[in-house]
Assembly symmetry: C2
Homo-oligomer: 423 residues x 2
């Protein structure tokens, strides 16, 4: 046995041992099988469907939409009046994943639209007449839509964006926020887990730094909700948004969620005044009067059918518990790093995610020239991570649906591809 095959054998053994000791392992069978997929390593982009998803949708179409018809909006029933789904589903997300008390979260819109609504609400609340607060602080390497949204808001509201620059492998620190924020600052916008590097921001300390400067904080939780433990209430976060199609398994283009701290419900106003966020919408009366509480964040008709797959996934997350999910997520990304160090480092593959697990979210990003073509080859072989500029592969194992052996098998294919291209 050569040293190389010995390493290979060791890794497979270790993956099997980790799977055997994994308390969440049985939940993997609760997802729809994907026979042609060797390793799905993109839970950070699109989560897999829970096996009951299609049946839940069929049941909704048959019994709810098909039979209750228009009565579903207002009459109670097993699925409640649909009118309340924004808060009902929002509260379920809050309990399962956000560490937030009820009445502060709604399901609505897309992440981009909710970012616009909540960033506008915060900016307008801070930049009231006479206030000098017109600066939005953000990470220069934040997810594109976050950057575009606040650039648009700054342009239309007479504000200014102040960018915090970081290295590709770094994220924003509380000290950087403290340095950047001051009496001119309206809002600090930050992704809790950086989409590119997987850097996990110190959310409570960032929030405290922003608050020390008198600014609001808006967290983008797209890459952390359902993966990292959150305590929005305890951290005193002002506003948050996130998608439900990554680690929350809501399906392609599923609706987003928005959180507004209770103390701000009477302070902030979002700009898209719609009938579904109005007090007593069915009076259809003159003039917009915001509904009390979190409901005013809603604008249009709630995306009811589109929320059904998410309900199936939230059942599973409740069953597992977010602490166990995070523990497995850390173990999975540690194992990714072990294999990358053993197999890929000799091929000059660079890790641009934090080595410190407490500063790392649910994915590991590796980098090497030519990875664009390598991802195509991986996809052809049923190994599915994703690619991000420049030359980066993101490996995002989903704790509920990914085994250690799957991680092993996927990285073994990547190793063999690099071995072959070298020879």
């Amino acid at each position: 046995m050569t040293a190389e095959t010995d390493t290979h054998f060791w890794a497979a053994e270790r993956a099997a041992a980790l799977d055997a000791a994994d308390p969440l392992a049985p939940l993997r069978d609760r997802f729809l099988p994907a026979p042609g997929v060797v390793a799905y390593l993109d839970g950070n982009s699109l989560g897999r469907p829970v096996a009951t998803t299609a049946a839940r949708l069929e049941e909704f179409v048959r019994d709810s939409w098909g039979q209750r018809l228009i009565r579903g909006w207002t009459e109670p029933g097993p699925d409640g009046p649909w009118m309340n789904w924004p808060e009902r589903v929002g509260d379920r997300i809050a309990a399962a994943a956000l560490g937030a008390a009820p009445g502060q979260t709604v399901l609505a819109d897309s992440t981009t639209v909710l970012l616009y609504k909540l960033a506008r609400a915060a900016f307008d609340a801070a930049a009231t007449a006479g206030s000098a607060r017109r600066v939005i602080i953000a990470h220069a390497d934040d997810f594109p839509t976050d950057r575009y949204v606040i650039e648009g808001i700054a342009a239309e509201r007479g504000g200014e964006v102040r960018w915090i620059e970081t290295g590709l492998a770094d994220g924003v620190t509380p000290a950087q926020v403290a340095d950047a924020a001051g009496p001119d600052t309206a809002l600090v916008l930050l992704s809790h887990v950086a989409y590119r590097s997987g850097w996990l921001a110190d959310a409570p300390a960032v929030t405290a730094a922003a608050h020390d400067a008198g600014a609001f904080v808006l967290l983008d939780l797209c890459h952390s909700a359902g993966s990292v433990e959150l305590a929005l209430d305890d951290w005193d976060v002002d506003l948050a948004v996130g998608c439900t199609y990554k680690f929350l398994n809501g399906g392609p283009g599923s609706p987003a969620f928005g959180y507004v701290r209770r103390g701000l419900h009477d302070v902030m106003r979002q700009p898209i005044q719609g009938w579904m966020g109005r007090l007593d919408p069915f009076t259809m009366g003159p003039g917009y009067i915001p509904a009390p509480g979190i409901r005013q964040v809603v604008s249009g008709t709630p995306p009811v059918l589109a929320a059904v797959p998410l309900l199936a996934a939230l059942d599973l997350l409740d069953e597992a518990g977010i602490s166990a999910v995070r523990a497995k997520s850390v173990a999975l990304t540690e194992f990714v790093l072990e294999l990358v160090d053993a197999w890929l480092a000799p091929h000059d593959v660079e890790v641009i995610s934090p080595r410190d697990a407490s500063r790392r979210g649910g994915h590991v990003t590796i980098r090497r020239a030519g990875f664009r073509q390598v991802v195509d080859a991986l996809w052809d072989r049923g190994v599915l991570p994703d690619y991000r500029e420049p030359d980066a592969i993101r490996i995002g194992p989903a704790p509920l649906s990914t085994s250690f052996t799957e991680v092993h098998d996927g990285l073994a294919v990547l190793r063999d591809l690099l071995d072959t291209s070298r020879s």
Copy 2:
């Protein structure tokens, strides 16, 4: 046989004859049966599911989301790359229902959010520096969300709303638009079919009147798309939005559509700058550069799964053809009026929809003191119209799924309720 039972017999006979002569009658069996429903008369609020909807959703979850996973967004396949769904589904709606050439319609967001984006785009394009155009003209009795959205825009952009008042049974005329619009006018917003009265506006003449004043036109097509024949291109309409859950049978809270006339794609900018409306989104580059054409109207991640039921419904609409749908819609509402005149007028029921079919959309609204309680009684008996303030019942038979006999049976229950309450 009394005169009364004679009338009853005549009406049932007539309904049966109309059904026998209806070329669309066979399509009714293509909807999911609703055994407990005597008469579904609310196609103007929530359309029924096509029978294949659940199977289409199951297929999407199993073969597309579940197997293609992240590859579905970018790789071609039987369902195309999901990334293109906003335009692909938009073009299908345009061809089936809007009278619009490809490349001008997207599926996205909710009606309210799209109203905000397109009304803002039009207002900002008209109210450029140095322009005196800061007035938005709208119907004082338009659907609430339309009113709230433009009131919000006027407040934030330094504009003003000029309301056109009408009687409860009337709608806005081209002459009223011509009177109201002038060199101060940025935008005329109008629902093509008025939600309360069912009044069908003369869209080409309203558009011409707005254009004569140098203003843009934004039509809300929620109550006309899939019911009334539209020719957005021929009418030279600038902008339009609509929902897909009424006569387009997309399901509770299904996504909305937005139309922007091709000539305006390089003139207008919507305010919610998101990655999915940017040129080359996956470069994730700095700064927002709008994608060419209609794509720039998209902000967030496209609602792919939520569009699946709509695809099943559009197949059926294509098969029927919108001309045949409109012809049956007129026949259905004529029959509603016949029965109302024969059975309900003696109970002081008032019709507040146009008698002239060419000025009437797909629903008939009737009014009488106490109708709030009557609707509850109807719902208890499986007869499902809806209620709108003040004291109004809307009867909206959907041409693809409603028979004349169903209309007869539903109105017979209403007649009996009023007969009983009198005695």
